[in-house]
């Protein structure tokens, strides 16, 4: 008998060997554990963890750099793009703005004409 035949003999012996079945309650316990694990992972999916993970990872680096560049561009140069045609930028004495502040020294006191004589 050659090598191949005795390997076949051992294989057939072992493959026809039966040692019983695993405990059926194991499957129930595993299914319950799977449900528990799955419910935990679903909560995780709804969190922002994945998003922040992506933000601070090296994935999509080009896209991130592009976004940051756009934000910087618009925030730094934003003032250059503001136009207000009604506002006259220049030194004009007529349009000098008065500063209106509450100052007790400048309060105009109303004089009652009826009681005017009594003042003298």
């Amino acid at each position: 008998m050659n090598k191949k035949n005795h390997e076949q003999l051992l294989s057939s012996l072992l493959r026809n060997d039966h040692v019983g079945e695993p405990d059926k309650t194991i499957e129930d316990r595993l299914m319950y554990s799977f449900l528990l694990q799955n419910s935990r992972s679903k909560v995780k999916q709804n969190s922002f963890g994945n998003f922040f993970g992506w933000i601070f990872s090296a994935q999509g680096l080009g896209l991130k750099i592009g976004l940051v560049t756009l934000v910087l561009f618009f925030s730094v140069f934003n003032n250059q793009f503001t136009f207000e045609p009604a506002k006259v930028i220049g030194n004009d004495s007529i349009s000098n703005q008065r500063i209106l502040l509450a100052d007790s020294a400048h309060i105009i006191q109303n004089v009652d004409s009826v009681r005017k004589d009594s003042l003298y």
Binding site: M1, N2, K3, H6, E7, L9, L10, S11, L13, L14, R15, N16, D17, V19, G20, E21, P22, D23, I26, E27, R29, L30, M31, S33, F34, L35, Q37, N38, S41, K42
Partner: protein, 192 residues
Amino acid sequence: MIFHKKDRVYTDSELMQQIVSGDQSAFSELYSRYKGRMYYYFYRMLGNSAEQANDFLQELFMKLIEKPESYNPAFSFSTWIYSIANNMCKNEYRRRVIRREYEQFEATEPRLDYVDDTSIEPEQLVEKIFQTLDLLGEDHRSAFLLRYREGFSIREVAEILELAEGTVKSRLFYARKIVAEKLDYLKNEIEF
């Protein structure tokens, strides 16, 4: 029915991908496929203990539930799951050594008688084979089981046991040799 979805048989790898996304039926299918094989492997690797085989089977699939993403779909699922099972057995042997159960095991080790009766039942013969393999240790037994029970190739056995192919071949050769020497029945059948 027009929109009846045709039942498709998924590969182990596809089932694992479905398990990652939380599909319980995929897990049930995968468990049904592997429970018998893994139970047998643990049973024979852990000294024919049904209780330990059940415990290890449960622990193995718990690992799969907890971290299904650790499986790389680029590799064979059966190779992956057997490598996990083998590592679990290795850890158990280490624990046994620490508990000094190994000495007790040696003390209670059944004496192996030569089998001269050619009318021996196949079940008895298999038991004798495993008693013989116990003399060699778990490394030879795992290689023997993976090759002759599970039908893995030498390369796959080497991958599971994290050994060189040459080492696996020599272990299998030595295991066959010692089995043939110990069992007269096989001695007549096996030639080297």
